[in-house]
Symmetry: C3
Subunit: 266 residues, 3 copies
């Protein structure tokens, strides 16, 4: 049997011992685990950023992977701890929206349980670190085949933070900045199919705040000169504004959540 993958997405950073403690607990239950870090550099307490990162990476993993996401400012309070099963894939984390983008698109085969069975979490539960005390052991027990039903009761009505959607009016596509990556690529929430009128090599007009720019709609970063801005469809099929061999977000002083309006240039 192939070794099962367990992924981790947190805002814990890599200096502190916290991530290692989660891995230690998982390996104590399932010594064959292949543990993959998706990111531990999520901005502290930024549930939306973790949700975006997890949703980007999760589809590339084997279908029977187990994804653990812990950005959890409400740890120790009444917020629920949940497991979501979608097909053969499990997701576990706090019920605060951190899993919502990864599980959002279709829900046909989704099962959700609240974690309540004290035998499947650590014996001494802190009020400050459920990543180690709750979600890590749950991932380990899921990986060795403990059935979903044993973890707790079925629930519905998950917390769903409202992430803004894309609208179109008068030929304008209105979206927002979903993520700025480490290269300074400004990733919008506008999917490729919304831009079906725009052809490679044409220009698009992008309005951010009071700044309006006509950008070449490229197939690759290097189609414009070094230091030039461009628009293209990034590796997750979203419209991106980038600077060739530079950092568009710095140049444009852009942050996540800002509104973006896109029109085909004439």
């Amino acid at each position: 049997m192939p070794r099962r993958v367990i992924t981790l997405t947190t805002d814990f950073g890599l200096r502190d011992p916290y991530v290692a403690e989660m891995k230690a607990v998982i390996l104590g239950i399932y010594s064959e685990a292949t543990i993959v870090d998706i990111s531990h550099e999520v901005e502290k307490y930024n549930i939306g950023m973790a949700a975006f990162i997890l949703a980007s990476a999760a589809p590339y993993f084997p279908a029977d992977s187990i994804h653990v996401a812990v950005v959890d400012p409400g740890v120790g309070t009444k917020r629920k701890a949940i497991i979501v099963q979608k097909g053969d894939t499990f997701f576990t984390g706090p019920d605060n929206g951190v899993l919502s983008l990864a599980i959002d698109e279709t829900e046909e085969t989704m099962h959700v349980r609240e974690i309540e069975n004290k035998k499947l979490i650590l014996p001494n539960i802190s009020n400050t670190f459920h990543g180690r005390d709750v979600f890590a052991p749950v991932a380990g027990y899921l990986a060795i085949g403990i059935p979903l039903e044993e973890f707790g009761p079925e629930i519905s009505n998950l917390v769903r933070p409202r992430f803004s959607s894309v609208t179109e009016r008068n030929g304008k596509i209105v979206g927002e900045i979903a993520y700025v990556d480490g290269f300074g690529n400004v990733i919008t929430n506008i999917k490729e199919h919304k831009l079906s009128n725009v052809k490679k090599g044409m220009a698009v007009n992008v309005k951010l705040g009071n700044t309006s720019m006509n950008l070449k709609f490229c197939g690759a970063y290097d189609e414009v000169a070094n230091g030039s801005l461009l628009a293209l469809i990034g590796s997750h099929d979203f419209l991106e504004i980038s600077q060739n061999r530079g950092n568009a977000a710095k140049v444009l002083k852009i942050r996540t959540g800002e509104k973006v309006i896109v029109t085909q240039s004439r």
Copy 2:
């Protein structure tokens, strides 16, 4: 047989090739190793910080794990290279205190050897990188079952840096700041049992330098308003001063090693 875990704790950072070279050497000896990074972001040369991080994480790992810790400003000089066995767990690193907190509490079954056998380290030893040339191969050979006796002679009198202890006088508990984590949680060296008089929901008085604060003694971060300071017992049973969804260390301008005085408020 379950795959054996080898952990790494260093001040090498993640940009340079050094950590990968240690892993390469380990995998060359024991290809089945599950290598877990505890931290490579220890402040350069900060033996005490590495000792704290290792001591926090080590207890959560499987009992037969092998822990390698390399913060080693004296590399290439007369400081000893050691292996400590405590129960089924091995620790290896320079004899400069980096292992001391992890092995400190009880010593009933502790065995210590100096690494001297040239057949169990790399053939060409640099004077600057014993993490790769000495401690990585030692971890690999321990993992495949080479008996402790073969590595070198038994020794005693390990280097024990004096970490300050907690004292109580006139109802005051005097300790110090042991660690500041990435969330800005200010972790003291005062264990939960020292605070047996303090009940959840009560206030404690915390004095740091000339600043005296009355803080709510909470069970979870989210029991006070966003941005408020609080006291609580953290996930390693130490008293912590935190700011809900903020960074207490920044607000309070606190650093590791500072004195802290705790009294029950009246």
Copy 3:
């Protein structure tokens, strides 16, 4: 059969989902992979830095390892995607020099192929992320034993960026700064054997820009007082300028690529 090692060297950073997506694709093809991160903190677009880091670490890995290096500002353009086989070791990445230092020294048994077989890469190839869409699947298929010939045609004339070489004139050794590590150690491109006249404990004169220094040629960092500068042979056999328990690069304001002139002091 021992599990095969696949290493990753990129400028992707650890916050974004990109590294995890590469690992996901590899594990989907070869679930037994031992994936080792060499570095993801290469300066963005800095091909030379990635080349140096990969060349430093690669020799320590098992002979049948597969090394993936992706610093790829020309992604999506005409630059080739290649596989290099040298002995039992495979290297894959863009043909822009990122592999050049690792494969440089001897080429007796080197085979090079351009990646063209669409069945051995992902079905939908982005123009912005060949790390995930091309090089990760190639590494996975190499690991499970797909023969090199199946990936594409043999090619020659790899891109070879000119890294400067070391010269000697009038008893002076002229080289350059190859790398500055996280400790601030200033690593030159001058190999130990060039300094055969210099003995441990003697002084060497090092000229950097307009600054000329006489430094003790040490065997270990701790042979000079804390805060003192020194010269020594580092763990990859290059001449290094270091500061004991300090950061020489900061003190000397040195950057990669600067010229260095070394003479034996009298």
